[in-house]
Every structure is written in C-alpha cells, then in structure tokens.
C-alpha cells in the first residue's frame, strides 16, 4: 500500500527528517493561499501515484500569485496518466546544489533488507541501477540486529557523499531504516535528498510503500491508506469484495482460483489469440455468493465480451461454484455476456451436472474452455 507524498512527508517530518515547508490544498484558492504564506518560489505538486509526475505536467514551479493560480487551475482536476488529481502539495522550492538518493527496501532474493545510497539522486533510481549499478552503494541489514550505526556511515561514505554532509545523511538514513522497520515498510525512499549551498540536507520527495499484509498492526498507516486509495471503479469494487483483481485492456474476462492458475488462464487466452480483460482470483474455498460477486465484477466491465471460469478445486468445491454460477445467471432475463465454465478437482463432476447449460457453455479441459471463450469474444467483436 502506497502513501501519497504529503502523507509520507508528514511521517518523515514527525520522525525528525527535515522536509520543506508545505501545505496540502484541494482547491485553487487554498493552493494560492498556501503559496502566499510559504513565499515564492513554490512547487505545486499533484498528489497521485504516478511516476514521472513532473514530465507529465503534474509539478509546476511558480514565482508569483498569478502563476500559482494558473498552475493550481491546471493541475487540480487534471487527468494524469489516467489518475484524477484532487489534491496538490504546495511546497517551498529548495535551492539545492546536489541531489542524493537514499532508500531502504526488502531484497527478496537475499531475504533481508538493504539500505541504498547514491549521489545520482533526482532521477529514476531503477534506471540508475540498470545503467550504472556501481553508482548505488548497498548495505544489507541483518533483521536480527537492525541497522548498526556504522552501517549507515559505511554506505554513505561508500556512495561518495560529500564529507561535510555525510553525518547528516547517515543520520537521515538511520531514521529512514527505523521508519521502515517500525511501520512495516516495503520500500521507503527519499529521492531527491537535497543538499543546499549552506549544507542543509532536506527530503524533497518521500516514498513510503507499506506491506499490505501488515496493516492490521499499523492502524494509522491503514487510515492514511484509505485516504490514498485510488484506481478505477472496478479495482475499488474488487477491494470491497475482497478479490485479487487487476484490470487489463482485453475483452476476455477471466475468473479463477489461485494466483498461478489464474495467471496461466490469462496466458492461455493470449496464447489462443484472445486478449485478457482482467485477473480475478476468487481465492480458496469460495462459496456461492463469492462466485456471484465475481461474475458481477466481470460483467460490469464494459470491455468484456466473453467470460471464462476456470476452477480447479482443492478446498474450493465444484458443486458450490456451480450453484453460485447458476444463481448469479438466473437473475438475468438475458445473459449479458457468454460464460464458459471449466471445473476440475473436488466435486467437479457434481458441479458439471448442476450447471445449467442453457446459461453457460461447459468445457472439460482448460485448453478447450479458453479457446471457446476466445471464440465467443471474437464473435461479439465481429
């Protein structure tokens, strides 16, 4: 779960990391008032989870009240790479001489956290990692001990950070690690960490991704997360229903159980010449109402022309699934989109007998079911 910049900055500031003066605004007038109070120049920054906000016109530097108004009018309400901008952060523009990168993340290949520092801040760090991996100094942290103070100093010096600010940067990195550890961080990073002509060190941006599985013990963060929730209507609906759901561009709707099998079903739709519209995992042990909710989700996607159901029952029972499909479809006078069903595993035979073949097409193998659903989608398209 990712916090917005303004939220992450608040968390950082509360922990003692220096951040520029800033105010959150939801209207043009609020933004202008904030700019006047902070004093020019200020940056007006869209609060959406989009990489490259600046290039896309979501961040503007302004020098006067008129410019502030114009920029706020442009940004508030704009569509930024598919995301609606409803909030902006109005922030003191920092006059910097250098930009660093500092971050803490979980290195899944090593199974332990890693602290990273680079003097190539202010640009996409993943690009730096690819083009010039030596420009990033890394220090793995033993989770049994946490980050030792020497490790923070070591990685800062290894990165080649100027000696005059090295202690301050190490101290900020130590705080960042502590936040990562205390708040169940997935990734936390400051990019750029700005160095001013007076050798002040200021966090000009703030990224905080929190482990979604740990929200039960991070109530404050969970609350911020609700405020930060964005995404399209269907993705929010999926959250309500408690489905793992990802929307794609195609027209074959996919419902299945288990992440690997659902991914495989998507891949097969593609393999047989169709285009997957979504990933939807109903999870283990799904009962009839959950199946009906899943169908409702996929039917409400306008892009979907045909639906394939692929259930391999372990703890999920084929008869339960079949009943769910029947119940959901019996509500319609006319089935909105053709549904192809393939059941295997626990109680699959019973399930296939229960399924009402006036409402659905039943196929016996995964390959056949996917090909049938792709055919239906093509017929609708044509």
């Amino acid at each position: 779960m990712r916090l917005h910049e303004y939220q992450a900055k608040q968390v950082f500031a509360d922990a003692g990391i220096p951040t520029p003066a800033s105010q959150l605004a939801e209207t043009v007038d609020e933004a202008v008032d904030a700019a006047e109070e902070i004093g020019y120049p200020v940056a007006i920054k869209a609060q959406v989870h989009v990489g490259g906000r600046g290039k896309a016109g979501g961040i503007k530097l302004v020098e006067s009240k008129e410019e502030a108004r114009e920029a706020a009018e442009d940004i508030i309400g704009m569509d930024l790479k598919g995301y609606h901008v409803s909030k902006v952060l109005v922030e003191e523009a920092v006059d910097f001489v250098n930009e660093l990168y500092v971050g803490v993340t979980m290195d899944r290949n090593e199974g332990r956290p890693v602290a990273m520092v680079s003097t190539k801040g202010g640009v996409n760090i993943e690009e730096v990692a690819e083009e010039d991996p030596d420009a990033i100094a890394r220090e793995h942290i033993d989770p049994a001990f946490g980050m030792h103070p020497f490790q923070a100093r070591k990685v800062v010096y290894e990165a080649g950070v100027d000696r005059t600010v090295a202690n301050d940067v190490a101290s900020i990195l130590t705080t960042l690690y502590q936040l990562w550890d205390d708040r169940d961080g997935a990734d936390t990073e400051i990019n750029p960490l700005m160095i001013t002509a007076d050798n002040e060190v200021i966090a000009a941006d703030a990224v905080m991704n929190i482990d979604g599985d740990a929200l039960f013990r991070q109530p404050e963060i969970a609350e911020m997360g609700e405020e930060a929730a964005e995404g399209d209507e269907l993705e929010q609906k999926a959250d309500e229903y408690g489905f793992d759901y990802v929307r794609l561009d195609g027209n074959v709707g996919i419902i299945g159980n288990g992440a690997g099998l659902v991914m495989t079903t998507l891949d097969l739709v593609d393999y047989y010449g169709g285009e997957p519209a979504n990933f939807l995992d109903v999870g283990g042990g799904a009962k009839a109402d959950r199946i009906a909710n899943a169908l409702d989700m996929v039917f409400s996607d306008d892009n979907v022309d045909s639906v394939v159901f692929n259930i391999f029952g372990g703890i999920t029972r084929g008869d339960e699934v079949a009943n769910g499909i029947n119940q959901a479809l019996e509500q319609f006078d006319e089935i909105p989109k053709p549904v192809t069903v393939r059941l295997a595993g626990t109680n699959a035979e019973e399930g296939m007998e229960i399924l009402n073949e006036d409402l659905v097409t039943v196929e016996h193998t995964l390959e056949d079911a996917v090909q049938r659903a792709v055919e239906y989608a093509k017929e609708v398209e044509a």
Binding site: G51, M106, R108, N109, G111, R112, P113, E126, E127, A129, E130, D142, P143, A144, D181, D184, A186, D211, G212, D213, A214, F216, R217, D244, V246, L248, G256, N257, G258, A259, G260, L261, V262, M263, T264, L266, D267, L268, V269, D270, Y271, P276, F279, D281, G284, F312, G313, G314, I315, A344, G345, T346, T365, L366, E367
Partner: protein, 290 residues
Amino acid sequence: MSVLVDEDTRVVVQGITGGEGKFHTEQMLEYGTNVVAGAVPGKGGQEVAGVPVYDTVQGAAREEDANAAVVFVPPAFAGDACFEALDADGLDLVVAITEGIPTQDMARVYRKLQETDTHLVGPNCPGVITPGVAKLGILPGNIFSEGNVGLVSRSGTLTYQVVDNLTNRGIGQSTAIGIGGDPIIGTDFIGALEQFEADPDTHAVVMCGEIGGEDEEEAARYIGEHMDTPVAGFIAGRTAPPGKRMGHAGAIVSGSGTGTAQSKITALEDNGVPVGDTPEEVADHVEDLL
C-alpha cells in the same frame, strides 16, 4: 522413495483447533498421514479428530516423537509459530500454509532458518505430498498418483492442474512440493531441486514458476550446472503488466522490468529445460524426458 515426506513422517499440526486446522487434519489423516499431535497455546489436553493437543510444539514433539510440523496459524501469529517450530527439538521439516504473513516477520524467520538444519516449506503454499504415503498441507490427495516425477511449484492450483495433466497420462509423482507465492520463502526452487536430484526414484522434475524475483533464473543456472535429472518447466504470468501484483504477494514484475516471464523462460531454455506454453505441453515434455 521420495523427498521430505515419507512413511516415517510424524506430524504435529499447529493451529489444529481452528477451522482450517481441524478440516485439513481430518483430510491428512484420511490420506494416511501420521498426524500424531496438535499444538495450540492454552488448548493442551484437548483432542481434535482423535489427535492429542499440546500447549507447545516442544511438548508435542517430545511426547509424540514428532519430526515435522504444519502451520495453520492466522497470519498475525504465524511468524511466531514458525519460530516455535524451528526452535523445537527433533523437527526436520516445517510446512507453513498460512497466507498473508507480514514480510518483515518472514525476514526474521528466514534469518533464524539459516541457523538450523530444519527445512521450511512455504509460507503461502499448499504443502508437500508424497502420493500414496502422506501429505502435509491442503493438496487434494485424489488427483495425485504414485510415480517417479518430482514437482516443485510456487502456486497451489497450478500444481493441481499440471498434476492432473500428468496423472491423466498415467505419469505418477514421487513428491510434489508447493514452495509458496510469497517474496520470502523457506525452501526455494534450488532447495527443492537439490532434494529431487538426490532421490534415485525421481526420474524427472517439473518446475512451475511465475513472475517476480529471480529465483527461477537462479534455479535455471543450478539445473544447467548441477543436475543430471531432467527438468521440464512452466512459467505463469506472460501477460502480466509491470507494477501490478498478480494475486501472490511475490508475483510482480518490477517497474524496471525484472522478474518477467520471458527472462525466466529464456534462462530455463538456455539451460536445457524445455518450457511448455500450456500445462498440456508440459506433460508432453515430461513424457519425452522419461
């Protein structure tokens, strides 16, 4: 022969008094697994499905001579449950079924694991089954059949699919290991492949991977350098967009394009592993390899 699980495996079920724990204990018993004890704090002295319950894993292991544990404990407490199992004397194998354990908890468990000789399988996995002998976890026993193909997979239902394709052709399995879909897991692909390589009765291995991380790439290199047993592969998530988590916590292609299906498929093929485009094709490859 088989790996990890055999007729001498004696299981303690952590969380046996919960709904899932109880149901799957019954299923495991029905399959013939020696479930010898349960462990639930505060529930010592009770019985579930005829199995005695102890307050601690240590107590259960000592009194019932258990050598393996299965964890069905809710996510908030499952990290601690794994520690308890790793700490208990006499356990060679811990299988963690629980999905949704905080990653930082697992990082600590993983750290502890480096200090022990115990195998941890999972978390967020369907478990381990040696067909006809015993199963530890939630895998549906009826789709498996006895034979000589080892199977290792990050996903539960995808495992069932591939096993179904094999069983339908009369190709049985030695042992199937679901290693789990989390970013940090105990036994990785290489850990499972090492087991199969050392087992004389495993004549071929199927490896089902998915997007995210670099475990499959590392496994591919291991296969190329160290394995005589032939391996066939399958990789799920070819159509997954970058930056989106596809169900499993670990199944994500990073923004910079690491962890893609293509990178894994290429790595496997470069090391002589045929990769199927469909589960049925995987079964074709296995037939050719045997």
